[in-house]
Subunit: 229 residues, 2 copies
């Protein structure tokens, strides 16, 4: 058993943010900023990283685990904005204060960086400025894709979600889902029942297999894509 745990851990740190040893002159860029000035934090399951409405003081990079951003509407409906995996940076969205809250889905470690620090540093480091802009651009792209997901049918949404997760997973055919059905449902604007039924249906069509609730095996990638719009 310990071997397996170790393997999982190592994997969690796999992402391509390189942390250089700081022996030389001041380095440039966002990875360097995180490495040099970032503070590591750990969060337990369902622990809050920041709350909606709080001032946006920090940028966050996931080192291990998984973070969800979400907003709860006045009547209790919850919308999940996105899932952030190791290597992902979140918290760029807010100009003044956060529109969403952020929570750890599983025990997670995160490096935080003061925005004021990054921004003042960006004034003299055009690489960093450029990377921040690219980061914001990719978050924008993500949000726009999310909008496109939300107008599709239940089946298309679930397939879209699976393809999205598969694209980010190591193995491309075996997906380990850190989030619950409720998280998925709230991300897709569906109910858990509909998500569950749709997954069962996809399994019956032998497009996927579900060895357990949190594991998805992509059996037939093109069939899956065909279910997409």
């Amino acid at each position: 058993m310990p071997a397996q745990v170790l393997a999982t851990r190592t994997e969690a740190f796999r992402q391509p943010i390189q942390i250089h040893p700081v022996h030389k002159a001041p380095e440039n860029g966002l990875p360097a900023a995180f490495a040099m000035m970032g503070a590591p934090l750990t969060f337990g399951r369902n622990e809050e990283v920041f709350g909606e409405g709080e001032g946006a003081e920090y940028l966050y990079r996931v080192n291990a685990g998984c973070i969800r951003t979400y907003k709860v509407l006045s009547d209790g409906r919850r919308q999940v904005g996105g899932f952030y995996l190791p290597g992902d940076v979140f918290g760029i969205e807010a100009s003044e204060e956060h529109l969403f809250s952020a929570e750890a889905i599983v025990p997670s470690t995160v490096t935080v960086l003061k925005r004021s620090m990054v921004f003042s540093r960006a004034a003299g480091d055009s690489t960093l400025a450029r990377q921040l802009l690219e980061l914001a651009g990719s978050e924008l792209h993500r949000a726009q894709s999310h909008v496109l997901l939300l107008i599709k049918t239940a089946q298309e949404r679930v397939v879209g979600f699976l393809l999205e997760m598969a694209a980010r997973a190591r193995s491309r055919t075996e997906i380990e889902l850190p989030m619950s059905r409720q998280d998925i449902a709230d991300y897709l604007g569906l109910t858990i029942e509909t998500v569950s039924r749709t997954l069962t249906h996809l399994e019956n069509s032998s497009a996927i297999a579900l060895p357990s609730a949190r594991r998805v095996v992509v059996r037939n990638h093109s069939a899956l894509c065909r279910f997409n719009a």
Copy 2:
């Protein structure tokens, strides 16, 4: 990409690029960049500004009229990403190529700016770099709010749209809508029938008045907000 579209586009950009003579010391920031290096273009009703999948070469600022961004799914469903009014900048989203297309809703004039120019200029102009980042941030905020709209009920979506438009209109109570019911429906992920019915219902509740199809008068702002989640 249809050849026809490409032809139209090429033609559109054949216009002379005006570079204003620089009398004073170099100015900073995005407005200055648009003023100094931007090229004005005009587009007729439903004319394409750029097509989805095209390389993202330019930034665009609306001077007059109204632009919609949208994407057509394989089966013909259309999603409108946003409406851009005078003063708004669009086209920041794309890192490589555009996810959405853009069209003029009414005859419009737009100033275009080469991205490569803005970005290289941003390396030495931290004000500009900062403004680009803020711009991307506000677009991100817009997209995230759009996601939140799309999980609400039909009534909440329509009310949300009206409040959004009211906030941007000059008069705050009298809204002139440049876009059709179909545009609104495709922005909200509803059908024209549902949009129309909802507007009629809001009129019957005397929250709004509809002197004509394209004019909305906000009769009771707080009642309207109460219809929102």
